[in-house]
Amino acid sequence: MKKRWPGFVLFVLILVAWEYASAFNLVDQVSIPRVSAIASSWIASVRNGQLLAALAPSLGRISAGFALAVVVAVPLGLLMGSIAMIYRLLEPLTEFIRPIPAAAYIPVAILFLGIGNEMKIFVVFLACLFPILLNTYGGVRGVDPVLIDTGRTFGVSRFKALCQIVCPAALPNILTGMRISLGIALIVVVVAEMIAGNSGIGYYILDMQRSFRVPEMFAGIFTLGLLGFMINFVFLKIEQHFLRWRGTSVET
């Protein structure tokens, strides 16, 4: 924590500069309101429950899409990493789908799934799928051959080796993939909510902008920043917990 003060000082300085730039009309006060105005509307929106009401559905969609992606991508990645045939079967397909931004699927997803939760969960799922899949696959491929041979000399079955050796050895990569995909999930859910539907933090920000409640709009944006920070922080803690055996501590 001690070494972090320069970052915090800069952060505070920017906020102060913003406050005065807006107060003295150096920037358009209507489109860039004072920080203090944003802060008070943030507090008000938290108090009256509007912000939380907007946040809850977004969090639900992220969790559902992310969980589905983990359930599908981890086993698939393990299989692709350990069975060459499955890799050869799926590799061209993944390489083609992977570079397409998940947001590009939204119009298609709307056709099939409508504008409700299903569509948004599906899009989050797709966006989370590839980082987890590719990191899991990479992790499995990166398992040292000596470790594999150790399993073989002890005569353990392929399935047991997958569960007891390959999976834990690839865990650092799998967790990295999960953390990356959580960041992407946040982006994608906001985009999806802005394009279609009438709930969620993405919709809230757009709605506030359309009704010229600019401080509330900024309050929503700042909430996203805070949320992203918290998700990453919590996940790093989880990662640290599961990777204690590496003996290296991630900086807190």
């Binding site: 005569g155 007891q164 050796i165």
Partner: protein
Amino acid sequence: MGEPIIELKNLAKVFSVNGRALTVFDNLTTRIEKGSFLSIVGPSGCGKSTLLKLISGLDAPSRGTVMFNGRPVAGPAKGMIYVFQQYTKSIFPWRTVMQNVEFGLNAAKKRNRNATREKCLEYIRLVGLDGYEHYHPYQLSGGMQQRVCIARALICEPDVLLMDEPFSAVDAMTRAILQELILKIWETIPVTILFVTHDVDEAVLLSSRVMSLSRAPATIREDLPIDLPYPRDQIETRDDERFTAFRQRLFSSIFLQEKDGAAAPAPELRP
């Protein structure tokens, strides 16, 4: 000669390097006595480790057969455990000492829940790691990690322990201590040990028989029974003039080859 536990029959291994066939060894035939301690020495790159991999069944020969307990080896054989030179890569870093040893026990499928803990502790004590049961590998020194790997192998009660330069990555003093440990283990447990090393002194100190391989394509150049009395001792045995004689004979046979090899380097043989 007693009952053979392993027999090599016309064993050959040929690698393909850049489209060129490279014979590591050809027509290797020998029998290994049950309960013996056989060391295999030879110039670097002569295929010592490759031979050990073939015997274990981790790798398949190009020609010939390995017989283990009278049956041909096809795939990793039950009853033989391979101990790797790179213990840092062979130990399970996410498991504690106890859990690493437990892996060996579970793999051997001699599961008796009550006995499990006791048995693990027994083997942890055997390798001198009592008190470290709940440590993770990153908290242990290199020598201690290799002890864990040895305990994990021994708890399976293998007939044969295959050790591939197991002490080459630790410092000299740790190596001396580990050599004493493996001697003590071999004398207390009925196990046959096949030991690959590039250290002639180590081979003579530990073994009941030393086999020296020539440069690739390797043949058995020397095959010496080491009739020094057991229990052996780091200081007394090394002081024995017969020890020096064995050492000299093996060392000169390898050293001369290494010198020839330096003049015309053989292709690197790392599979």
